[in-house]
Symmetry: C2
Subunit: 168 residues, 2 copies
């Protein structure tokens, strides 16, 4: 009765194609997710649904959001990292990032045209910009060469372990 939403239908399709089950919880979570505001957190969805469905678990919301990501229907704002990373703020401050979703490598670059264009667009909306952050996600040259092969992860030369949050 509420499945008119194309997002929900796509999700249902994804589930059946993957041999997974379509449950009451999954449908309600997906529905609330597509109908609601953006930038929603797991906790927010949980509280929202909980008022109607007492027996819902926060864990299920997390698991369903993970499925939505796997289905390509949701994106997590925070590049799958569970810890914070820090940048020094130099004088020539604004720089942008190219992030390879396969190997995790991060390249920096600067581009004055981009920076000015961003500032101009913001200004036209009454916004005074103090900082810009552009992140371009995709496949880097090296990984594009390896193409079909599986993920050459862990090519950062660091002692710590970048742990993907969610995606197994």
């Amino acid at each position: 009765m509420i499945d008119a939403d194309p997002g929900v239908r796509h999700f249902t399709d994804f589930l059946s194609r993957a041999g997974l089950k379509s449950t009451r919880q999954r449908e309600r979570i997906a529905h609330a997710f597509f109908a609601g505001r953006r930038h929603v957190s797991a906790e927010e969805l949980y509280h929202q649904l909980r008022s109607r469905d007492a027996g819902l678990g926060l864990v299920t919301v997390y698991r369903t959001l993970k499925l939505l990501r796997q289905a390509g229907l949701a994106t997590e704002r925070t590049f799958g990292e569970s810890y914070a990373r820090f940048d020094p703020n130099p004088a020539d401050w604004t720089h942008h990032h190219l992030i390879c979703t396969r190997c995790g490598k991060i390249q920096e670059f600067q581009d004055a045209t981009l920076r000015e264009l961003g500032a101009r667009v913001a200004r036209s909306r009454g916004f005074t910009v103090t900082e810009q952050r552009l992140e371009l996600y995709g496949i880097c040259r090296d990984c594009a060469r390896l193409d079909g092969r599986r993920t050459p992860r862990g090519s950062r030369g660091v002692p710590a372990r970048p742990r993907a949050r969610g995606v197994p």
Copy 2:
């Protein structure tokens, strides 16, 4: 003997101006921070310094990074949020964000010129872009009006509590 770094000197100045103390640990952490790679995590700095300074605590690294942020010398990649937020992926997918650092409000917008320019710059570096994320931080129109006054925080109409990570 290693304080030639302007970043370290700025930090030292900040400390004395703020009536705080300049300690061996703070200087070493700041030095490593400014001398090292970018996108460094607290844990990485800790391991790196730990090899020379056995008695160093991870807690002190966290606390010093917080001070560096307060001094305006460091930026945390992950806008102070300790939890993940999710966006649905519609057909007209690429959208950007205007984030007010005073009230936390998030506005979305789209701009084809920006998107194309971003993709072009990435391509020129051998990068195949699958997703863009531009975040413009600054002061929104409403907050600019309130100007001198202190932070009208908490103007999101949501049940959850956006908790700043670090900044008290």
